[in-house]
Structures are given as C-alpha cells and as structure tokens.
Symmetry: C2
Subunit: 291 residues, 2 copies
C-alpha cells in the first residue's frame, strides 16, 4: 500500500509553475481574490491562495468588500475585475454570506477569467472536452494527482461517491473524457443510491466526495483499489490539544491496508486544489495573449 503524498505532488506542480512564470518577461499573471466576510475557513483559504501565488511569482490582489455588500455591488465589483486588463483570474471565495446569490456571482465572472471553473461555459467545456476552458480545481487536481501517481484510468471502473457540482459531477466527466489519462468507465453514486456499498466495492478507483466523516469502511472497498478521499471534516477528539482532528470521507485506518494506493486527509487532495487554481491562472494569462 502506498500513501499518495498530495503535498509533495502539489509542491512539484508549484515548482513547475514557478519556473514557467519566472520565464515570463514583463507583467506577471495576476489573480484577484475576493473574500466577503470573515468566515474562518475562508480567511485561511484565501491566505493560502495568496501565499502560493506569491511563491510562484503570480501577483495577487485581495479584495475584501464589506459583509453587507449587496448583490448588485458585488456584481459590479466582479464587472470591474472582468474589465481590468491587469487581472487574469478572478476567484470569489465560497461560501458567500447568506443573502447573496452565489450562482449569479460565479456566472458573472468573465469565462476567460473564471479560474475556479464554476461558470456554466467552463462546465460546458468540461462536458465537451474543450481544453480552452477551465476545469474546476478540485476535480482537476484529483486527475493530476492520479496521473502523477501512475494510476492509469483507461478501461478502469471509477466509482464516484457524491454528485456535487464542485467535485462529483465534474470529476466523473473528466474521468470519462476521451483524453489521455481518462477513458474510464464511470459510476456516480449519491445519497439516493440503493445499496451504495455494492457499487463502491466494484471500484478500481474509488473517489469519495460525499461529505460524511469516515463513511467509507473496509467492507466497501475492493482489495487493491485506489482510494481518493476528497472529504474533510472535524471530529471531536479530546486526546488532541485542539480538541478535534481532521478526517476524510474514508475510514483511513481500516481501508488503507486494503488499498493499493490511498490519499490521506489532510495532505492528499487538498493541496492539489490550490495548485490547480494557480495553474488555471497561468493558463488564463496565456489564453488572454498576455504573453
């Protein structure tokens, strides 16, 4: 059994991007990071995105509109970033505070600057297999993690647990695509699936993105399967100083001995998401003909 080291793989990708960006003459790629409100997780994510950008040499601009900003003002802010020739990528940190229409805001970002990959045009390009778009970062990061771990998907059975817009559906489409590294047979299961364990047990590659702590147990995994854990939850743990520990959607301790390869939580899929956001930002810069 091999634990897939997402931190190491993300670091390689970041080093490659750093080399690429350092070779750019003149203006460097720039990402605008928009955070509304002070949700602690959002604060931490935006900080991480900014520091990773800095490490690569990508400029970042952090915009912190007041939590009371209305829908119209937030969309106007997005419009101004859309029209700013110095901005290549725009990230609006999710979740937005109550009362703001997230889908409308994401749909307002110019498709060519939508480095998060949430605009319907970019989702449609994922369906089409059109590489001029931006795939959402977590699913794209999973594909990259598998490719860099020498997991060939062609003809394999990929079972995705979860049908979210951010992970489940797009990763299913990417695994199904007619592209090198993909060509998998794909099953998507979810809360309404009858006898989910029987599907999970068929997986050559099991992608758990169902958002339930330690949901996948040993009886749901075929010996030798590759297991990708997208979940991240806090569970109370009085033995830890923080009073909790982070766990994924997979019960790592019991599943790991069965798997041929498995991603840990934390340090698996998570670090790839930020790295892919940076890759999308450099791609946006290139596609805009900025260099």
């Amino acid at each position: 059994m091999e634990v897939i080291d997402g931190n190491r793989i993300a670091a390689s990708l970041i080093a490659e991007l750093k080399a690429e960006v350092s070779a750019i003459r003149g203006r460097k790629p720039c990402i605008a990071l928009v955070r509304v409100g002070d949700d602690p997780a959002s604060v931490s994510y935006v900080k991480k995105k900014g520091s990773t950008a800095a490490e690569i040499g990508i400029e970042s601009r952090v915009l912190l509109p007041p939590v009371a900003i209305g829908q119209a003002a937030l969309e106007a802010l997005v419009d101004s970033l859309n029209g700013d020739p110095g901005v290549d990528g725009i990230l609006v940190q999710s979740p937005l505070p109550e009362g703001l229409d997230e889908r409308a805001v994401f749909g307002r970002v110019a498709p060519g600057k939508d480095v998060d990959g949430f605009h319907p045009v970019n989702l449609g390009k994922v369906v089409q297999g059109d590489d001029t778009g931006f795939a959402p970062c977590t699913p794209a990061g999973i594909m990259e993690l598998l490719a860099r771990s020498a997991v060939a998907l062609a003809g394999k059975h990929v079972v995705v647990l979860g049908r979210s817009l951010i992970v489940g559906k797009p990763v299913a489409l990417l695994a199904l695509a007619r592209t090198a590294g993909a060509n998998a047979t794909v099953t998507v299961c979810h809360s309404r699936t009858a006898d989910l364990p029987s599907f999970a047990r068929q997986a050559d590659v099991l992608i758990a993105a169902i958002g339930r702590a330690e949901f996948v147990t040993a009886d749901m995994v075929k010996p030798g399967a590759v297991v990708v854990d997208v979940g991240i939850s806090r569970v109370a743990d009085p033995s830890r100083k923080a009073g909790y520990r982070l766990v994924g959607d997979v019960h790592f301790q019991s599943v790991a001995p069965l798997a041929s390869k498995i991603t840990p939580v934390p340090g698996g899929v998570g670090p790839m998401t930020v790295a892919m956001l940076m890759r999308n930002t450099v791609k946006a810069f290139r596609l805009r003909g900025a260099s």
Copy 2:
C-alpha cells in the same frame, strides 16, 4: 413486456404544445432552421422539423445557405439570427459539410436561442441543474419518454452505453440530477470499457447510444430491465423493397421478451427529439419575454 410507443407520446406532447401556442396572442414562437448542403438525412430532418412546427403553430424559417459558404459567412448568418427579434430559436442542422467548424458555429448561437442545447452555456446549465437553459433534445426526450411511461428513476441504476456529447454524457447528467424523475445512480460505458456486458447486465434502465447496429443482445440485459434504444442504423435486407431495414443499437427480437419495457426503432426515441426541439422553442419564446 410493453413496447413504449414514442410516436404516441410525442404526439401527446405536440398536442399539448399546440394548445399552448394557440393560446398565445400576437406573434407566435419562431424557429430558424439552417441547413447547409443537401445531405439526404439532413433534408429529411429539417423537413420534419418544419412540418412539426407548422402542426403546433410555431413559425419556421428555413435558411439554405450555399454549401460553399465559408465559416465567417455562416457565423455572420448566425449573428444576424441572434440579433433578429422575431426569431426565438435557432437550429443549425448537423452534420455541417467538411471544412466548417461545427463546434464554433454551435458556440456562436446566442445561448438564449440555442434550442438544440449544444452551446457550452447550456451544457453547463445541465451540469448545474439550472432550468433556465436548454437541454439537448434527444437526452431530454429520453427523460420525457421515461417519465410518461411511468418509469421512476430514483435510486435505480441507469447504465448508459456511449459517451457522446449529443446523447451519452447529457443523458447521464439528466438521470443523475437532483430533480423529480431523476436521482438515478448512473454508470457510463463506452468503447474503452472492460467487460461492457457485465455493466449492461446490472442496469435497471439500459440506455443504448453506442451507434452499433443490434449491439445489445439478450445476454447483456437483466430480466425486467427497461431498455431505451437510441441507435438508428440501416442494415441490408434483400427481403425489403428498399433493400434495407432500420435497426437500433438493441437486438430487439431477442431482448424484448426479457425487458419490462422497451423502445422500438423506429418509433421510439426518434419522434421525441423533434417534439423536444419544439418544446425548447416555446420555452425560448417564454424566456425572452416575448409573451
């Protein structure tokens, strides 16, 4: 075993649309049908679309640019239809002659007039489950056919054979959606799938859209399954006056006795595609606030 009568169900839908359109005061919905070249199948399809529109009371305008029209001129024609306030829906008949970039043309159609559902924005809205878009007509027709045949998909295992952009991928997304009539567990198989028959045999609902004549045989179907046949091929048949007969992707004779319900070819999915195009046209008219 019940043979699902696509002609009858499409006729019901058309009758409903006719009643709806007849209640519209003033200008009626209008679809522009663009056909480039004289491919016999395209001639026949465009004719059928025009006659179905007429039956409902939808205006249709047939545009027949010369086969030598270039990419730029065809896109300019699309632009003029996009800008024409009297046109609600635009259909560019596929396939376009060699040398024309079909994806670029489909992507040129204004999303709000893309009644064929091939624009990336509309495909993205299928992924998002956003009902303000247009789902491609054949997959939407399959869902309608199942709903009107009292086939409930929730929790059922739908196996789709084929991953085309026009049928396989969007029907998988529609069956997976969090909407009434959907909520299925979905597997997509294709030419690269290892042991496809073993997946097909698991299906509660088997959707064959692989484009191979009579590919699905009795050994690939679970007794009691619902079988939807999207294929249409000509096979030589000297006993017929025409010298051929039309068959689907399913070997009807051997599979039908096993199935609980099955669509025939012709007269199954086919008639639904045109009916759904008309429904999308009326929807486009409504969404534009034309009435």
